[in-house]
Symmetry: none
Subunit: 136 residues, 2 copies
DNA sequence: AAGCGCTGCTTAGGATGCTAAGCACACTCC
DNA sequence: GGAGTGTGCTTAGCATCCTAAGCAGCGCTT
């Protein structure tokens, strides 16, 4: 047991901790070993790799990895994303219309995904049909 | 309507578009060149790399890349994340972000009045092509 | 024709995520 | 002592992302 750090660091209050330090605190708080976490994530995060993350050898794990860790530690996934330096979609506003006020949006809403794809292609087709402008 | 059989010519037409095909449609609808997009993203996404994404050579671009593309095309960032196979924070309630989330409104804004008319006709055409029931 | 600029596309190579395997140390239990 | 198990940690190597540089083709201008 080489390290068992002494600092009782509550992972929830960590302000500017690096991702690795934060995850290490979290694991320590839960009293889990590296391999226990590997087990918890269903082998999605191997113990060696987790060690790399905690030590800072790996600085930006993929969202998928972070998700599994969030699950294993019961942490907030979005928070982990931010700590890893990923952008998080701010999923709020749905309404800025503007020029399109006249356009019947519900017509679009009724389309299926595939139909919307076709529509995009048709828009491209309309543009390609225009007199001379090549791409703009 | 002019029509000219735009449907069969569609390179992707239907179903669940791959990320690449979707991004290609979006770019095409906006009438942007690969290098124009590179410019728009402030060189964050190079033209060659974008080509790789569209062609499927690169299947899972980083969230950061997707963010820049979402900005450039005025698409929903979260939607792109999902299409790229990344997990999205609040995705417990799966499908119900804005239905129009994936649609590039800019593409509509740039159309002329007449073209918008044709587009509406085409939407009507799409709907008429369906197997009648409107529930879905 | 020659040159220019734009188009999409390819490719070598560096950087990084990520895995599988193994190391050294510490604690048992026979 | 020796075997077995658990700990954190390291490392070779592969896969993938991503960049920089370049390719050929097309249309336009002189």
């Amino acid at each position: 047991m080489t390290c068992v750090s002494a600092t009782p660091n509550s992972p929830l209050s960590a302000g500017s901790q690096s991702l690795g330090a934060y995850l290490k605190s979290a694991r320590s708080a839960l009293g889990l070993s590296l391999r226990a976490v590997e087990e918890r994530t269903g082998k999605a995060v191997t113990n060696g790799y987790l060690s790399q993350i905690e030590s800072g050898t790996v600085t930006q794990p993929s969202p998928n990895m972070l998700y599994h860790l969030a699950q294993a530690y019961d942490l907030d996934y979005g928070d982990l994303l931010v700590r890893a330096g990923h952008r998080v979609p701010h999923s709020d506003d749905t309404a800025q219309r503007g020029i399109l006020a006249g356009f019947p949006m519900h017509a679009l809403e009724e389309l299926t995904e595939g139909e919307r794809g076709e529509l995009l292609d048709y828009i491209a087709f309309l543009r390609s049909k225009r007199p001379s402008s090549r791409g703009r």
